[in-house]
């Protein structure tokens, strides 16, 4: 129990006043000469049990009444979980709001979603605590949302759920900056979340910085985590994995892959059949998916788009997959777009194309019949003449770019283009894109640097470690690893670079790295420290690894080509949606919030299907141990929020008033003198 005006509790010693008055009254006795002592003696010898008890009860009731009066004026709150919040409440409260799709889950016992329930309860709580102004941080907007009253939280249109996975460490970072810049006093930060790992990102490196930042603040910051809890009953989600327009035996077809997952409220999973509705171009079809365990995937489900003789108007389109409604409607729909696959255009910039002619072979051979691949070899001076919008991959085998070339390449990378760098024969000191070549190193002393053929007795350095979960060298769809270990490396060009090593002969000898050139972990700049030339490696002779890696990076680069995009909410392309029109999705969404919500949107050039992040469907929660480690020495508490309460805290002064009145009535009844027998005083 806590108090809004706890300073009133200093009056608690007044509880002793009735007892003190009783003791003082006993000391202020009068002395009376008395004749009928024999009756007093007899009376004092009689049992005084009830009388003593009555006296104690009277004293107790008086003390209780005084205590209740003091508690009543201290305005008590009915929640032990808020800690000493009441005593430290300020006029400003900072709220970090998780508006992710999982927050649209319906709460048990009420029709409201978790987000609505949390806002309702938090609004009531802040109002009770006397908070005047609320600062709300969320992932969708960089700037905080300032509300004049806590009540505005419930009705503010910018605080509705969206399709964006929350970034709690990011919000904390911004809250820390706000507290620093605005020099607030002691502050309470309320975090409303359903504790999904996808929102909390417990492995994110920013947590440590946030934690240190808050600890170093001069003022006290207290965190109140409103835990909206796990799903109370089974929830199913559907997510599109891929949608491709392919040519089948019957004509143009749509190849769909989607995944259904379910999170169980309680008990063991039971087998069930889920009717999945697929809507393409206004036509709906239903496919039943057997769900035996917690997830099921449907791959390459074909839907005919046209007959063999009718190909008109089907170059691109959009569709929706839906599973039946459950407690969370936000994850029952997934959108997709499709189009005729664009050609995968590769630009090779090389001063010695012979060395990397194997690369050209890899980029020219299409993995699928429907996809066209084309390669163009140019010199670095010709870069201005290239149509960069059609390029998926740039293979750079020259001195590192400088000047205009570097500018064009950087712009290409920022737009999602992929770049694969190979070392030139004689590298110079140029540093670009975060790397700098330092010189060739022969790995095998028996190798002959000038020979272009491999002698039979030469021992080659083997690739001993590689990331089989990476984009380029990851395992195949059936889980088999690529034969990277069979590659033989004769010499490598050493380099200075910051990035992720994807394959290496040893800790000091990397083979393939992903460079963090622009500060974004999603960019596609890869560097290979050797060439496919036979005098350098067996990349070309054991070509399967190189081919797969090249095709993968090419596929990633081709995503930026074409008139359709399938993205997740929050990706850079979402910024294009400001000027888009909605083709499918929730029609109640405001136009300025398209970028934060799922659906299909059409811009002048693009048809964009925007879905929630796949991690949203996993249902994995942050454990109590993880939460403890995330907040460490910070002052924090976790409050599990139910659906029934209107507010997290409630003033309960009425109860104390009632108890005080009851105590006074009981005291009056105990003090009431007994009616004496009339006969006793009657004169004979």
């Amino acid at each position: 129990m806590n108090f809004i005006q706890p300073w009133m509790l200093v009056a608690l010693p007044l509880v002793a006043v009735p007892i003190i008055i009783h003791l003082v009254n006993q000391r202020r006795f009068q002395t009376v000469p008395w004749a009928a002592m024999m009756f007093l003696m007899q009376a004092s010898r009689m049992s005084a049990g009830y009388t003593k008890l009555r006296q104690w009860l009277i004293l107790l009731m008086r003390a209780l009444a005084v205590a209740c009066l003091i508690f009543f004026t201290s305005r008590p709150l009915a929640s032990g979980l808020i800690g000493l919040l009441g005593s430290r409440s300020s006029e400003v409260a900072i709220v970090l709001l998780d508006r992710s799709p999982s927050m649209q889950e319906a709460q048990a016992g009420s029709g409201a979603t978790k987000l609505q329930g949390a806002l309702q309860q938090l609004s009531g709580t802040l109002k009770t605590l006397g908070v005047q102004r609320v600062i709300v941080f969320d992932t969708a907007s960089e700037k905080p949302i300032e509300l004049e009253t806590p009540s505005a939280m419930v009705s503010d249109p910018s605080l509705v759920a969206n399709g964006l996975t929350s970034d709690i460490p990011g919000m904390l970072e911004r809250a820390l900056l706000y507290v620093k810049n605005n020099r607030t006093g002691n502050v309470n930060i309320w975090i409303c979340s359903d504790m999904r790992e996808s929102d909390w990102r417990s492995r994110d490196g920013r947590w440590a910085a946030d934690r240190e930042g808050f600890i170093s603040l001069p003022q006290e910051v207290r965190f109140q985590i409103l835990d909206l809890g796990a799903a109370s009953s089974e929830n199913r989600s559907i997510r599109i994995l891929s949608a491709k327009r392919v040519k089948g035996p019957q004509g143009v077809e749509l190849s769909l892959s989607f995944r259904i997952e379910r999170t169980l409220g309680s008990g063991a999973p039971t087998a069930l059949q889920i009717p999945v509705e697929i809507e393409v171009g206004g036509a709906r079809s239903v496919v039943n998916v057997d769900l035996q365990s917690e997830a099921a995937e449907v791959n390459d489900y074909r839907i005919a788009l046209s007959s063999e003789n009718d190909n008109a108007g089907l170059d691109q389109g959009w569709g929706v997959v839906r599973c039946p409604g459950d407690i969370n409607p936000a994850d029952n729909t997934s959108y997709f777009v499709y189009e005729k696959p664009p050609a995968r255009h590769t630009v090779i910039v090389s001063d010695n194309p012979r060395v990397i002619e194997a690369i050209e072979l890899c980029t020219n051979i299409s993995p699928e019949q429907a996809i066209e691949c084309e390669t163009e070899t140019v010199a670095s001076s010709q870069l201005d003449s290239i149509d960069w919008n059609a390029v998926a991959l740039v293979v750079w085998h020259e001195q590192l770019p400088e000047g205009r070339s570097l500018e064009l390449l950087t712009q290409f990378i920022a737009q999602g283009g992929q770049v694969l760098l190979f070392p030139p024969e004689t590298p110079n000191d140029t540093a670009a894109l975060g790397i700098q070549w330092t010189g060739w190193q022969t790995l095998d002393s028996k190798a002959k640097p000038d020979a272009e053929t491999v002698e039979g007795d030469v021992t080659l350095a083997k690739v001993l470690q590689w990331r089989n979960d990476s984009e380029l060298l990851g395992n195949t769809l059936n889980g088999a690893p690529l034969p990277v270990g069979q590659l033989g490396i004769k010499r490598i060009c050493k380099l200075r670079a910051e990035g992720t090593v994807l394959a290496a002969m040893s800790d000091e000898l990397p083979l393939l790295m992903r460079i963090d050139a622009t500060g974004s972990s999603k960019n596609g700049v890869y560097v290979c420290t050797t060439t496919p030339s036979l005098r350098d490696s067996t990349l070309a002779s054991d070509g399967i690894v190189m081919y797969i890696a090249i095709q993968r990076v090419l596929a990633a680069g081709s995503e930026r080509i074409g008139a359709t995009r399938m993205v997740t909410v929050g990706q850079p392309v979402s910024s294009l949606l400001d000027a888009a029109s909605q083709a499918a999705g929730d029609s109640t969404i405001l136009t300025n919030q398209y970028a934060q919500n799922t659906g299909v949107y059409r811009t002048n050039d693009l048809l964009i299907a925007q879905n929630r992040l796949g991690d949203e469907d996993s249902g994995k929660l942050v454990s109590a141990e993880t939460l403890s480690s995330l907040f460490g020495a910070l002052n924090w508490s976790r409050i599990e929020v139910g659906a029934s309460a209107k507010s997290l805290v409630q003033e309960i002064w009425r109860w104390f008033l009632i108890i005080m009145l009851v105590a006074l009535v009981v005291e009056a009844m105990l003090c009431m003198p007994k009616r004496r027998a009339v006969a006793m005083t009657k004169v004979n």
Binding site: R28, W34, L40, M680
Partner: protein, 302 residues
Amino acid sequence: MLPTARSFLDPKILSRLSAVPLMSRHAMQGNISGRHSSPHRGSSVEFAEYRKYVPGDDLRRLDWRAFGRTDRYYVKEFEADTNLRCCVVVDTSGSMAYASKGHVSKIEYARQIAASMSYLAAQQGDAVGLACVAEKMVQNIPPRRSAAHLKVILDTLENAKPSGDTQLPAILDEIAETIRQRALVIIISDFFVDPAILKGCFEHLRFRKHDVAAFHLLDPLEMEFTFQRPVRFTDMEGGQPLFVEPTEIADRYHRALNTYLTDLQRIVLETAVDYHRVITSEAYEHPMMRFLVGRTRGRGVR
């Protein structure tokens, strides 16, 4: 009659009380003729019985009419009237000094009753005595009839000072033994002793053929016990003081008082004591009038 004015004697009240004679409930053995019946035959106008003449009887007392009717000699006998010995016992122990605010003390009240009773007895020619008792027999004036004796009694009453413990039962036993003839014993006290012990005293007095009357004096505050604040009660008879929270103990005090009064009431009924409980807030004329009138019932007043 009264040589000097006494504060405890009111002539108006005495004149009203004089209208009712002081009667004994039993036959008295006085020395002279008086207003009270005697166990012996005498020459009053009250016919008693016929008795056969025996030689030696006074011939003047032969009833000739009875001889004419029956041809036998009968002597006509009459009741003898004699005077009364009235012994007033006044308790002068310390407890009798108690007086609550606005009321007379019990000793003053006792003086008024004792003096009035002595005056009335003396007025009708009865012998009056006085015994003042506390830890011992403080004063003992044997019953006499003279007017001067009344003055002695009134002086003694005037000078009586309440003090000390009460030994009333022992002294009542002593009085029962020391009064030689039948007498009217009037005890004026607060009777703060064990009723069982009192019972023995009353039975002793009754055994000695005395007519026992008791005026039980109680202060209104002793009956009501309406104290509010804590009180340290000091014993007026020299006992240990007692600290009491009146609101706590009042119930039990009343229970003890009620039990005592009930027991006392039962004892006076069993021992045929003419018992009068008197609250000192009441004017003394009223209990005295009740006492006198009560004694005239059952026999004519001459």
